[in-house]
Structures are given as C-alpha cells and as structure tokens.
C-alpha cells in the first residue's frame, strides 16, 4: 500500500442530512504535489464547477463540454507555490467538498479535518455514523 495521509475529512451534506456522515480520504500523491507547489489557484476549479453545475441545472449535461481556455488553466495558470500539509488539506476541502458544506453558514460545522485514527475502523454500523458535536 502506498503512503497514507495522516488526515481525513469527515463531513455532512447540508442538503442531505438524513444520509450518513461521509469520510474523505486524501490522495498522498496529490498532497505531495500540493506541498511541492504544483497547484493552480483554487478559482480555476471553482470556475469549472460553476460552469458544469449551470449545465446540469439547464439539462444540457449530456452534451456539456468545458470551455477549452478555462479547462487548460488547470495546467497553464501560474502555480500558487508550496503549501504545508495543513494548508493542502484546507485547499482540498475547498476543491473536493460540496461548496455548501463550507461556504455557507449552518447551525453547526458541516465538516471537520481529523486524524485518521479518529475515524472508526469498525464499519458494522457504517450507515448510522454521525458527526459528533
């Protein structure tokens, strides 16, 4: 098995609070790239997410194609420089979690960055997992 991150992100989707708490497992390869300074500014991904969400809402997702210039920015935009592992985790939250989890105010936190050993390894009641207060 490849090297594993020492962090996980547990989160709830505010639009589906009846669903079990989800657990995001970062790719150590991706974290290494982030810590080596290989990432573009986060807005590059947000711009692509916005365009795709618009296409989904308008019912044209099956024929949707990203704008080539915006798509190419993933590789051509100036890199943001090396991040610490903690900064990389925060970037990953903003990239991979639904924006409604972290960008909107709720009456409780919708996500937490935790250490791997804080996530239960016994999955017998996986569908009953809830985020502790």
């Amino acid at each position: 098995m490849t090297k594993q991150s020492k962090y996980r992100v547990i989160f709830d989707d505010p639009d589906h609070l009846d669903e079990p708490t989800k657990v995001l497992v970062p790719s150590q390869n991706w974290l290494d790239m982030a810590m080596a300074g290989g990432l573009p500014p986060i807005w590059v991904y947000w711009q692509l997410q916005d365009d795709e969400q618009k296409a989904i809402k308008e019912g044209r997702h099956s024929t949707f194609k990203h704008d080539p210039e915006k798509h190419a920015l993933q590789w051509t935009a100036p890199r943001i420089g090396p991040l610490t592992e903690e900064e990389a985790m925060e970037y990953l939250v903003m990239k991979d979690l639904p924006r409604r989890c972290w960008a909107e105010e709720h009456n409780r936190p919708m996500f937490k960055i935790v250490r791997t050993e804080q996530v239960p390894s016994d999955r017998t009641f996986r569908n009953a997992w809830e985020m502790a207060a």
């Binding site: 669903e19 970062p26 790719s27 790239m33 990203h66 993933q74 990953l92 390894s121």
Partner: protein, 125 residues
C-alpha cells in the same frame, strides 16, 4: 537508450482525435476497515459515502462527462477476493459522474463493503 516522453499522440493524415497516452485516472482502494487508497494516479481524494458506496475525485477535470469509466469490485467476505471475482467483476459507467467525480460501489442485493475496488477513466480529446 533514449526515452520518448509524450502526453498524447495525434493521427496525422485524417485529423482524427488526440489519443492520450495511458489512463488519466487510476485508483484502487480498500473499502473495508479504515478505507484507504492502495494506488492512485490523477486522483485528489476518495470519499467513503456509506456502506459499499464511494466516489473518486480527480486531480484535474476531464473536458466532458462522457469519458470512459470502468470500475471493479471484489467478492466480499471470501478468500477469493484476492482474485478477479466472477461475482463482483466489472461495473457500469456511473450515471452520476461529472467531469471531476466518478461514483462506484460494491453491490449484491444491497450495498456491501469490498476489500478491493478499482476505477479507471480515459478520455480521447
């Protein structure tokens, strides 16, 4: 010996599509116990959604959501999981996939955790 390094090749005479070299996304992971990636390429994270249901988020978005996606999962609670399983082999292309996310699951009458799942995605641009 010299090494030729390219990311894609293009058919010269008929102007056909560009063929990218190798899969752009490869992931294999353990869906039991402490869920963890075994190997990955082109992946930023794996999300454990609930029993037997997971999704992979890519490092970079594909240009469309019609890329080829193929998943596999192994037999659960069996010594045979270490082989490619007849019971859980293969997988449909996720209907819910977007340019940045692809869903996969282990299913046998209901969703079940699997000790080895895999996903490969390709796009010809």
């Amino acid at each position: 010996m010299s090494t030729l390094k390219v990311n894609s090749i293009q058919e010269a005479t008929t102007g056909g599509g560009t063929v990218n070299i190798g899969p752009q996304v490869v992931a294999s992971f353990n869906g039991t116990g402490t869920v963890a990636l075994y190997q990955n390429h082109g992946v930023s994270s794996l999300t454990d959604n609930s029993t037997g249901q997971y999704y992979i988020t890519f490092s970079t978005n594909f240009s469309t959501a019609t890329y080829q996606a193929c998943s596999s999962s192994t037999h659960h609670q069996s010594t045979w999981w270490q082989w490619l399983s007849d019971d859980y082999g293969g997988g449909n292309q996720s209907y819910f996939r977007t340019t940045s996310v692809c869903y996969l699951a282990g299913y046998s009458g209901g969703y079940v955790d699997n000790p080895s799942l895999g996903l490969t995605c390709n796009e010809v641009s």
